[in-house]
Homo-oligomer: 378 residues x 2
Amino acid sequence: MECSDYGLTRTLERDNLNLNPLQRGGVLPAAARKALYEFGDGYSVCDYCEGCLDQIPRPHVNSFLDDLADFIKADAVRTVHGAREGKFAVMHALCEEGDTIVVDGNAHYTTHLAAERNGLEIVEVPSTGHPDYEIKPETYREVLEETLEETEVKLAVLTHVDGNYGNLTDAAAIAGICRELGVPLLLNCAYSMGRMPVELKTLKVDFVVGSGHKSMAASGPIGVLGMSAEWEDLLLKRSPRHEKKEVELLGCTSRGAPLATLMASLPYVRERVSRWDEEVERTRYLVSELEKMDGVRQIGLRPKEHDLVRFETPVFHEIASSHPRRGFFLYEELKKRRIVGIRRGQTRWFKCSVYGMTDRQVQYIIDSFREIVEENRD
Amino acid sequence: MECSDYGLTRTLERDNLNLNPLQRGGVLPAAARKALYEFGDGYSVCDYCEGCLDQIPRPHVNSFLDDLADFIKADAVRTVHGAREGKFAVMHALCEEGDTIVVDGNAHYTTHLAAERNGLEIVEVPSTGHPDYEIKPETYREVLEETLEETEVKLAVLTHVDGNYGNLTDAAAIAGICRELGVPLLLNCAYSMGRMPVELKTLKVDFVVGSGHKSMAASGPIGVLGMSAEWEDLLLKRSPRHEKKEVELLGCTSRGAPLATLMASLPYVRERVSRWDEEVERTRYLVSELEKMDGVRQIGLRPKEHDLVRFETPVFHEIASSHPRRGFFLYEELKKRRIVGIRRGQTRWFKCSVYGMTDRQVQYIIDSFREIVEENRD
């Protein structure tokens, strides 16, 4: 038995242009690679722990968490294992089995699973459907009001940017509605925190969760849970038996390399967030250039406010119908050009992102798609 | 802001002989270091995921989990974020709020926290106290029988090897008692799985949890949850809404580098477990040599059956009382000799482990302790 027995290489995905939106925001900068080297072993961040992960002085987890709280403008922040584990913790602390929560119709499956694991009833705010899939604040209000007529709503959840269409929701407006109706709001920022500005106090939400591996240039799994001061006592309640340990976090969460990489990446992440406008511009350019081809159409809200783009691509589906390699042709043509991240066999539609790429790389991708159409169309 | 702002180096702990038991079993072999390099970025293991982490074909998570199940002789196995998260998941699946569980008196604090987070009542099986702190099967039986007279017991938890004394419990005997009394048993193997042989079917327990970062040469945080076939349906229940996703695991758990390192390390871990007898011999040698000094005494069961050793060390405490550096002298004298892992200021007692060290390194440590006593005693 050797390491290679399990196919533990990732050269294809690391060395090529990867369009998979899931992979764009989690690429480590050099500082985080160094931290990974230093803190690769087991319980590496725990050498100087006195019982509280968030108070570890060396490495400076304590001052890092202060900086992180400042970055997302939260009163308190903790690391968790990922956005889903953060959502589970909030639901677990606020709700009892059988309680009802309201969730937007574009929610990630992990929002549903966190609710199911807590035994909660989910009431959904529908999107406008094809082609925009918009979550409108007025619809959120209607559903919330209707639900409140029938039962108590312990928590509202909103997906800041969803993973299917890359739609940015109006979190501030929906937070206002929730506040007016007395329901705390949890904002799922897995696709936003670390890419674009996310500030709890500006949006006036009660909780935010973020994902280190998805959008904060960290090695997975790690997430961020931020909250406003009023929820600290409930969510960070300590064990009656072990007074330093927070029960909802099982004492401590991310004890190792993921935390070290999240720490090392924070300065880099802060800086890239300040350049978010450029990323949006680059994405809009990609959309406008690809839509110049017949049979390519961006789905979701327009103009794009996020780097995750969903395209309907009948042009590729038509080519596939008569191509000797059938649906595999697109993946294979892209791979020849050192572009990866579109699933093998997929031609009818795809999601992609050029987040973090240079103008030249984006142009190369646009030219490659054009070339593939030109070379393969009858 | 730079990486170094958070003190993200670990040279002292990496380059020297580290006696901290927490750190001995999580040191990565070369293959795992390579996997860390390959899978350092964000969601790195998810490139070829079709919706189930445990079914990912590339890297071969699917066949790895088969090998892991075979290694610990479990019917089903999943990775979790750590032993504590595994314990929480088992308790969450089996128990309702207010239920009672029985736990041994040497349990790790995370067993208590997992129970507290689930709202469970804990009934404790006391150890024999100083100096052995033994958990006797007959005491386990007494407490379990007494508790069963008063209430239902949904789960029994036993610490296979505890983190304070390194005592190995008689898991097979206690499993027999639990089976006889109809109570499922969860064995916490955070300090055993990956160091010594742990086989679910040999011990006849219902669940085992292990810790990748503590004892399986993996980068943290990652754990292992193994179970017998009868519990699979309950613990790995799928979401009614997302049919590929297991609810208790929130869809998937360790999505990144920790999993890649656990996979890479399995062949190494299998091999080292086969040499467990040598480790025990080395530990016993350490104990017998250090106890030759007046004022050093091993606490916990004798002879040692595990590498974690707790010593009472009045000899160092006496030196500290008149030493110009007071309690810091021991840490400083050891550090001069490139030995770390004993807490600064601690002299009355300490825990240590020489797991994974060579005979020569162990002899060097013994000689160093002797030298420190000789040089510093009045």
